[in-house]
């Protein structure tokens, strides 16, 4: 089966089971450059597993994932890690910032992991922190900033490598609605400005509203939804 024309990342017939539980059962997915796709579904439906498979974090039991013409499942673990460093960005529900590092060091971390010098990495990090309006937090540690601020630092970290795909797993799940909306605005604006595709896992309709398209995952199967305009 060939991936949909023009898609940057696509998945076909994905199956993944954790023990006796089937998390994915023939799920399909595709996304184009610059597109924001919301993956929705109830708790335990398999949406996070789908995201992890798409990002090459988890290997599916069967099915194919194609990124930019290359089959992800055929890559070795180190190749997938390298891909995640260079082409993908991540935002998680609780930010998952390294508590020992300052905010600017956290944002600079992906660049440093790519071999960049500390100075250059932190300069680029600061630029992104300015865009996400958290540059004043650069010397603070994650424990010294609020949840919303921390999440914006995490978004800056996810974008600092100019990824082609940004994976966001419940990025506003731990935030109040005001903060959540601000984070989503910043995230989608920044992604669109760099033409990055965004895979947005959420179960909140108001968060999904920031997307161009919605995919619903239920019992491990996915279905494209028509956006009601």
């Amino acid at each position: 089966m060939t991936p949909p024309a023009g898609s940057l990342l696509s998945a076909e017939q994905l199956r993944k089971a954790y023990g006796p539980t089937a998390a994915l059962d023939g799920a399909e997915f595709s996304i184009h450059p610059g597109e924001v796709v919301a993956v929705m579904g109830p708790s335990g439906s398999g949406k996070s597993t789908l995201l992890h498979c798409l990002a090459g974090i988890v290997t599916p039991d069967s099915g194919t994932i194609t990124y930019n013409g290359h089959e992800l499942s055929a890559m070795s673990d180190s190749q997938r890690s390298a891909l995640r460093r260079s082409d993908f960005g991540f935002v998680f529900q609780f930010g998952q910032l390294v508590p020992e590092l300052t905010c600017v060091e956290n944002v600079a971390l992906p660049l440093r992991l790519n071999g960049g010098s500390r100075k250059e990495a932190e300069r680029a990090a600061l630029t992104w922190m300015e865009r996400l309006e958290v540059d004043d937090l650069r010397k603070k540690r994650p424990s010294e900033v609020s949840g919303g601020q921390g999440q914006r630092v995490a978004v800056a970290r996810s974008l600092v490598t100019n990824p082609r795909v940004l994976f966001a797993d419940e990025p506003t799940g731990a935030l109040d609605s005001l903060n959540g909306e601000r984070v989503m605005e910043l995230l989608t604006d920044a992604a669109r400005s760099t033409n990055a595709a965004v895979v947005l896992v959420t179960h909140e309709a108001r968060v999904a509203a920031y997307s161009d398209r919605e995919v619903v995952v239920r019992d491990g199967k996915s279905r494209d939804m028509e956006r009601a305009v």
Partner: protein
């Protein structure tokens, strides 16, 4: 506040320790295992004095050869006992030949019935050895039928090799074998002499105990803090539902109490298991029976009270810098900079306690036990107090390097106390061990002495019983596998009178080749007699003018009180030749003096008054060569004595202390390694989600592994540096106390720090597989 409320809070804490599902149980069991290991070691330590006492008592109860010199008359309650010890490979085998002289002859402890001639009773360990293939060579030497085993009361260790064999005709040899054979009417010394304890040895034992127990105490303090972060979160939740800060502290104390009480139970079980295991093990030739290891009740009670109390205190102390608020935990520790002054006070106070004993030396040196123990404890506690300050001071100045380095340094900056606590135990153990190494190396010459033996020409000496023919025996030894040369002599003593001789000298009979090994001969033919002039060791030949040709001398002169015997005169020949001394076959210092005689020159009357002796050059590359020789020797006669010479020998007590140190240090380091691993794994588990997230955005596993290594390596390097400084200082002070010149045993310092570093490396390596597992993406799953 009433007692009821207190009890309720403590009980709530106890419940928390065991609830919380699998994780709660795991944490409680980890703590209990940690505390249990420490308690087991403490109980073992409290049991050691009793074990040593029992060993000593059993040894005393079976003592037989008393070297009294008196021969009691034969009676129906007497027994003739001969010492027929032997060696097998590196092991000593205690052997006695027994000849009961009447129905009331005393039985040795642990023996139910006298073995008859051709029979023997053996220790269980010897029985096992003799019945195994490994003991085949020894079985050749001890072919008697085994008719029973020696009971526990007759042995000083479960692995001791010992036998009693039946014999006959021993009585007639008592006079000529004093010190090896005796007629006795009881076993055991009725008037045991208690040795005055050597102050240096006492000092060594005290320091060994302190050095081994200190890290155990630190380990227990670390173990009760397992799961600390989770506990703090739980306490915050309690604050939310109305618990005040004092209540939360009491609840925390209850949790610690539960872990440590369970630890006491575990510790007792570990100890009992270890006690049984100890009965099957032999470490550095020391074995014990399980029944020997009984902790003193008072000390055991002290352990039972002190461990839970310490656990509660440590927990409350750890909570000192933590403010538990309803909405979370705030650690105030970070704001307070560690102060140096009181941390320095501890080692300084320790040195001050040791100072009065400097120069006490070993002559008058009864060291004050309390000052020694107190001083060493304070110095070592000083390590635990100084290390957090040093780690904090150093890591705050460390710059950032690669990502792994940066992650590690930042983590250390954020929680330098945790890092220091993790390596405290190792630092203390290494500091103590360095000091002990120095002390051992310094006093080594006292306890290890050169035998003065030159083992290049001969390595074994065989003394033949009087009835054994020398030539035939020497030939048997020559024919033995692995024997390269045999120098055999008949030795006796010549006096200037038949009784109560004023001057006397040695007589050595041997062929020219053998005589050349002990003196420089001008020329030699069978029939020649030589006088060795100018010997350093014994000058009576020249002083007593004994070598004057024509002078009449007497072989084996009688002395007042000894039984009468016929005179054996000999006249110094006219053609007496002169020989120059040469260093002995086995002894550089000893040079043979007196007369040397070739076989043809020896009068026939001399045959019965001489003692046969052979020196053997052996090929050590031949497997079990020494045991082949011992087998041949045993075949020559029951009382044939075989000695293998080496260049150095140590006193047994020194060996025991040294053994104690090595065994203890190994146990302590293993224990600390285990605690390090548990803490490490706990920290990793708490960071599971973060680790998975880092891997998700492409962090190499190598980077995270390296970061874990740096996190352990930086504090351990600092800890080992501090340990070296404190260890060297303590070692120098201890040496000064014993009046020994201070010298640094660098090999000891390096080996101890190396072992400490190796423990950390092993722990890091062991934590890598779980780290890699924790880095799996499953950590990101929330459902």
């Amino acid at each position: 506040m009433n007692v009821r409320q207190w009890a309720a809070d403590l009980m709530l804490g106890v419940r928390f320790a065991f609830t919380g599902g699998r994780e709660g149980w795991t944490r409680a069991v980890l703590t209990a295992v940690g505390v249990g290991l420490g308690v087991a070691l403490l109980l073992l330590t409290t049991a050691l004095p009793s074990a040593l006492t029992v060993r000593h008592e059993r040894e005393a109860a079976r003592s037989d050869i008393t070297f009294s010199g008196e021969v009691i008359p034969k009676a129906d309650n007497t027994l003739v006992v001969a010492r027929v010890d032997t060696d097998f490979r590196e092991d000593d085998v205690r052997g006695r030949a027994l000849e009961p002289e009447g129905p009331r002859a005393p039985l040795p402890p642990g023996v139910e019935k006298f073995p008859g001639t051709g029979e023997m009773v053996v220790s269980p360990a010897l029985k096992e050895l003799l019945e195994s293939d490994a003991g085949a060579l020894l079985r050749e030497r001890l072919p008697d039928r085994i008719v029973g085993t020696i009971g526990e009361s007759g042995l000083i260790g479960s692995a001791e090799l010992a036998f009693y064999q039946g014999a006959e005709g021993l009585a007639s040899h008592i006079e000529t074998n004093q010190g090896r054979m005796e007629r006795i009417d009881r076993f055991g010394d009725p008037e045991p002499v208690s040795e005055r304890s050597d102050p240096v040895l006492l000092l060594l034992i005290l320091v060994v105990f302190v050095v081994l127990l200190m890290p155990v105490a630190i380990f227990i303090a670390t173990a009760v803090r397992f799961g600390g972060e989770q506990r703090d979160r739980r306490l915050a939740a309690l604050r939310l539902v109305g618990s005040d800060s004092r209540m939360t502290r009491r609840i925390a104390a209850g949790e610690a109490l539960a872990g440590s009480v369970l630890g006491l139970v575990f510790g007792t079980l570990f100890f009992l298991a270890g006690r049984q295991l100890a009965g099957t093990a032999e470490i550095f030739r020391v074995s014990v029976f399980p029944s020997y290891l009984n902790p003193s009740p008072l000390l055991a009670l002290l352990v039972a009270v002190a461990v839970p109390a310490a656990a509660v205190l440590v927990t409350l102390f750890a909570l000192r810098g933590v403010v538990i608020e309803p909405l979370g935990v705030v650690r105030s520790g970070r704001q307070r900079r560690r102060r140096l002054w009181w941390r320095l006070l501890l080692p300084v106070a320790g040195l001050a306690m040791l100072y009065p004993m400097i120069g006490n030396g070993r002559d008058n040196g009864d060291f004050n036990q309390y000052l020694v123990t107190g001083g060493v404890v304070l110095l070592l506690v000083g390590v635990t107090a100084l290390l957090p300050w040093i780690v904090e001071a150093v890591v705050s100045r460390l710059g950032s390097g690669g990502v792994a380095w940066q992650l590690a340094v930042r983590r250390l900056q954020l929680s330098s106390g945790t890092a220091a606590r993790m390596v405290n135990g190792i630092a203390v153990a290494v500091a103590g061990a360095i000091a002990l190494q120095m002390l051992f190396a310094g006093v080594d010459s006292d306890y290890t002495r050169s035998t003065g033996k030159d083992v290049s020409r001969a390595q074994m000496e065989v003394t033949l019983p009087e009835e054994a023919p020398l030539e035939a025996s020497a030939q048997k030894l020559r024919d033995t596998k692995g024997v390269q040369a045999v120098y055999d002599f008949s030795e006796g003593y010549l006096g200037d009178r038949a009784t109560d001789a004023e001057w006397g000298t040695d007589l050595t009979v041997g062929d020219c080749a053998a005589l050349r090994q002990i003196a420089n001969l001008p020329s030699c033919r069978d029939g020649d007699v030589f006088a060795v002039h100018g010997a350093k060791w014994d000058t009576s030949l020249d002083d007593g003018n004994l070598a004057e040709p024509g002078r009449k001398l007497y072989l084996d002169p009688a002395y007042e009180g000894s039984p009468e015997k016929p005179d054996t005169p000999w006249t110094v020949p006219q053609d007496l030749k002169s020989a120059k001394p040469r260093s002995g076959l086995l002894d550089d210092e000893f040079d043979q003096s007196g007369f040397l005689m070739t076989p043809k020159a020896m009068p026939d009357t001399f045959a019965s008054g001489l003692q046969g002796r052979a020196y053997l050059k052996i090929d050590r590359s031949v497997a079990d060569v020494q045991d082949h020789v011992r087998n041949t020797a045993a075949g020559i006669g029951l009382l044939t004595d075989t000695v293998t010479w080496s260049e150095m020998e140590r006193t047994d007590r020194y060996d025991v202390v040294r053994t104690g140190l090595f065994v203890g240090a190994a146990c302590v380091l293993a224990l600390i390694g285990a605690s390090l691993l548990v803490s490490q794994l706990e920290q990793l588990r708490e960071r599971r989600k973060l680790l998975s997230a880092l891997v998700a955005f492409g962090t190499r596993r190598r980077t995270l592994s390296l970061s874990v290594l740096w996190q352990t390596a930086i504090p351990i390097v600092l800890g080992l540096l501090l340990a070296s400084v404190v260890g060297l200082t303590l070692g120098a002070v201890l040496l000064k106390m014993t009046g020994t010149p201070v010298g640094v045993d660098w090999a000891g310092v390096l080996s101890m720090t190396g072992i400490g570093a190796a423990v950390v490396l092993v722990v890091t390596l062991c934590s890598l597989p779980p780290l890699l597992r924790l880095m799996r993406p499953e950590g990101l799953r929330t459902e």
